[in-house]
Amino acid sequence: MNKIPNRQAICEVLMEKAKNDKDIIVLCSDSRGSASMTPFFKAYPEQSVEVGIAEQNLVSIAAGMAHVGKKAYCFSPACFISTRSYEQAKVDVAYSNTNVKLIGISGGISYGELGMSHHSAQDIAAMTAIPNMRVYLPSDRFQTAKLIEALLKDEKPAYVRVGRNPVEDIYSEGDTPFEMDKATVLKFGDGKGKKVVITACGEMVRPSIEAAKKLEQEGISTTLLDMYCVKPFDSEALIKAADDAQLVVSVEEHAPFGGLGANVASVISANRPCRVIQRALPDDHVITGKSKAVFDHYGLNAEGIADTVRVNL
């Protein structure tokens, strides 16, 4: 089992690139430890900014620095950076079009035991609703690294959500198919018989793969879209994958409104009507527990996803 969380993968990329790029700046709100960014702060103190527990300040300061030419990477728990600093993200980052990358760490229900104040089950809805804000939920550490490398090459705003815990590897050092803003397509089964499309993002990609493997044993072929790019959404990949599918399922660690599932339903209904089933967290206070137990409780695991397909296909 991989022990490197996606946040650490981000740190490693930024540290490597910062060797030759003095404009890379990391900003934290007393969150450098949670963000795995302590090594960056130690190695590049002159490129590190601590603002204290002040998420509004975090994002505004980052925007100001970006306006003067810096590549600003802001790290704060997703629950805070996507809501406490929402207006700063909207006005100072997206509206002013500054080169700020907002990194929401410990996203979704990573802090499952800490209650709703620390859950970010609405960040996709909130951030995707802002014009000029891109939204990414990478699945594993290799894809996360590719994403950050790509983001370093552009000067546009983006929000990236990663979880706290390590995710079992999906890709590998030498084999990480990645095209910016294009879903990664994974196929399971022989393509004969019943066909389903599963669209997932972030930590939900891994259990979706396990579900697809189970379904393959049962003669059901799955096209799995690792839709790390929730915005801009890769509609083309979804329409193509759904072309001969009997069912489309979306899986996300998010409230049932305004997230991946909403995008999937919107694209499918406009382009190729077929049944769409959404799996997400409930519109309710999420039950307390470690994230795996919470996922299991709500069926956001391999068996739950496979069952969703079996019941609805």
Partner: protein
């Protein structure tokens, strides 16, 4: 500052109030009271203090300005137009009209405007970021921002004060347009700022006060601020809301956002002319 230069700029500030008035009359909306109170601050910055012009607007070594009290955009636009960033006639003709780029709050798609604002409490924290980045790169530019006094109730302003003091940003100069009025009444009725001077000083800032409707006093304050390099400076610009608009408008809370009727328009024009002649 030479007396003749101060006189020249004081007259310009009155002339630009006429531009603001025409913009508001034509568009049917605008925050005229704050426009008139902040005008001398903007004219002093753009015509006496800051290293910024249409020619060097992309020079990374320029000075930076953020209009945090973005609702006073009419005065900001009028000053930028006079500075040569865009045409004054186009501004008056199109301000707030359908599809216009001259929208009712600062928009950085317009030449001369660094960042978008409008929601209060953003300008100081953004300026902190700019000042930090300029210092990191050893750039000579200074960062200026103007806030309203009602805006000081926003918590993010105090996050900015705290961070700027912590980082000892000697290249940052903030101004509070202290006209004592906001949309619902006096600042002391709504949310008091009577201790502003000592409060900000306690955040390790250099704090000065000046008559914000005096070009001479503001220029003197800005120049003194340049000599304080080990901490940020706040200039409390004591102003009169509606300054220059005469009895009908000055210190009248109803003019935060108000379009003059024909009679009021004539009174304001007359007041501006009288004030100009007295300079």
């Amino acid at each position: 500052m030479e007396k003749e230069r101060a006189r020249e700029l004081s007259i310009k500030a009155m002339d630009l109030r006429r531009v603001v008035l025409e913009m508001i009359m034509k568009s049917g909306g605008g925050h005229i009271g704050g426009d008139f109170s902040v005008m001398e601050t903007l004219v002093t910055l753009y015509f006496e203090i800051m290293n910024i012009s249409p020619e060097n607007k992309d020079d990374p070594d320029r000075d930076y300005f953020i209009m945090s009290k973005g609702h006073s955009v009419e005065s900001y636009y009028a000053v930028l137009a006079d500075k040569g960033f865009f045409d004054t006639k186009e501004l008056i003709d199109t301000f707030s009209q359908f599809g216009s780029k001259f929208i009712g709050h600062p928009n950085n798609e317009i030449d001369g405007i660094e960042m978008n604002s409008g929601s209060l409490g953003h300008g100081l924290p953004v300026s902190v970021g700019m000042a930090l980045a300029c210092r990191m790169d050893k750039r000579p530019g200074r960062v200026y921002t103007v806030m309203g006094d009602g805006e000081l109730a926003e918590g993010s302003v105090w996050e900015g004060f705290m961070a700027a003091g912590h980082y000892k940003l000697g290249n940052l100069c903030a101004v509070v347009d202290r006209n004592h009025l906001q949309i619902s009444g006096t600042t002391e009725e709504v949310m008091t700022h009577e201790k502003l001077h000592s409060q900000v000083e306690s955040f390790d800032w250099n704090v000065m006060e000046a008559n914000g409707n005096s070009i001479e006093e503001m220029a003197d304050a800005f120049n003194k601020a340049k000599t304080v390099t080990d901490r940020p400076t706040l200039i409390i610009a004591n102003t009169i809301k509606g300054f220059g608009g005469g009895d009908v408008m000055e210190n009248n809370v109803g003019w935060h956002h108000h379009v003059p009727n024909d009679e009021e328009y004539a009174q304001i024009v007359s007041a501006i002319n009288r004030r100009k002649e007295a300079i």
